[in-house]
């Protein structure tokens, strides 16, 4: 990629469109020569953010809301992805670590609550902005890129 560039994708806030976001992400990340494993990580992180917009932003109703995804290609190696909705806002809990299952008993574990935790585990950085809906800004650098510059 010669210059910084951005790609914008907007899909209906419905479950059947989340895989389209993954497909576009794949296309961009492959172009940037991210590794297979890095692409898989990003797919999950981005899907989690989209799932949240679909499930939580618009009260779970199919009311015509959309999920807007912006991909910023920063230099040769960094991809920043912003997933935003214009639905209800929320106050993100500070303690994401406790949302995983580690060290819990089978009686304690619950399905749900893993989305934001996974985004943070899979990306280099994740920031949640809530004002007129939610924007999750996450970014990842190519591993090979980091290595090459050592």
């Amino acid at each position: 990629m010669k210059n910084d560039a951005n790609v914008k994708l907007s899909v209906p806030a419905r479950p059947e469109f989340v895989d389209l976001v993954r497909l576009t992400l794949y296309g961009i990340a492959a172009k940037m020569n991210f590794s297979y494993e890095e692409i898989e990580d990003m797919k999950v992180a981005v899907s989690e953010a989209c799932n949240n917009a679909v499930l939580h932003a618009y009260g779970g109703e199919e009311n015509g809301g959309s999920v807007d995804v912006r991909f910023d290609i920063l230099g040769e190696d960094e991809l920043r992805i912003t997933v935003s909705d214009s639905g209800e806002s929320f106050v993100p809990s500070g303690d994401l670590q406790s949302s995983n299952l580690l060290g819990k008993s089978i009686e304690e574990i619950q399905s749900g609550g893993l989305g934001l935790y996974l985004m943070q585990a899979l990306m280099d950085s994740v920031e949640v902005r809530t004002q007129q809906g939610t924007a999750v800004v996450m970014s990842k650098r190519r591993e090979a890129a980091g290595k090459a510059s050592v």
């Binding site: 479950p15 059947e16 989340v18 895989d19 993954r22 494993e37 898989e40 797919k43 999950v44 899907s47 989690e48 799932n51 679909v54 499930l55 995983n100 299952l101 580690l102 060290g103 819990k104 089978i106 574990i109 619950q110 399905s111 749900g112 893993l114 989305g115 935790y117 996974l118 585990a121 899979l122």
Partner: protein
């Protein structure tokens, strides 16, 4: 809508039901997955095994479904396991912490056909 996003093939062995799950397990197909698993989860006297060899994608929606099955089977004292977990999916199981709940049972089905 594509109909082949997630497919199931059920194999009834002696005392064990193996469900081969192929494709992408995400929000779109979550209710399809739950509906398929519901009756199988009820069979408390059979071991239930999910073979994930051909599962290409899972996210927290799918992991949440697995947690639901785990808890339901545990409540029934009925055996449950996953087998042939691809590396990318294994990584997510490890990250979320679901692996220890799946491994005890998994070791037991290691001799399954490749």
């Amino acid at each position: 809508m594509q109909t082949d996003k997630l497919t199931f093939r059920t194999e009834n062995l002696d005392g064990t039901t193996v469900v081969h799950i192929a494709g992408e397990l995400d929000l779109e197909v979550a209710s399809q997955m739950r509906a398929t698993m519901e009756p199988l989860m009820e069979l408390g006297d059979r071991k239930l095994v999910l073979n994930l060899r051909d599962l290409k994608y899972i996210d927290s929606t799918g992991i949440g479904i697995l947690i639901g099955i785990l808890k339901a089977r545990h409540a029934k004292q009925a055996p449950f396991a996953v087998e042939e977990v691809p590396a990318t999916i294994r990584k997510l199981f490890d990250m979320t912490g679901i692996t220890p709940f799946l491994t005890a049972a998994e070791s037991y089905s290691n001799g399954s056909p490749k």
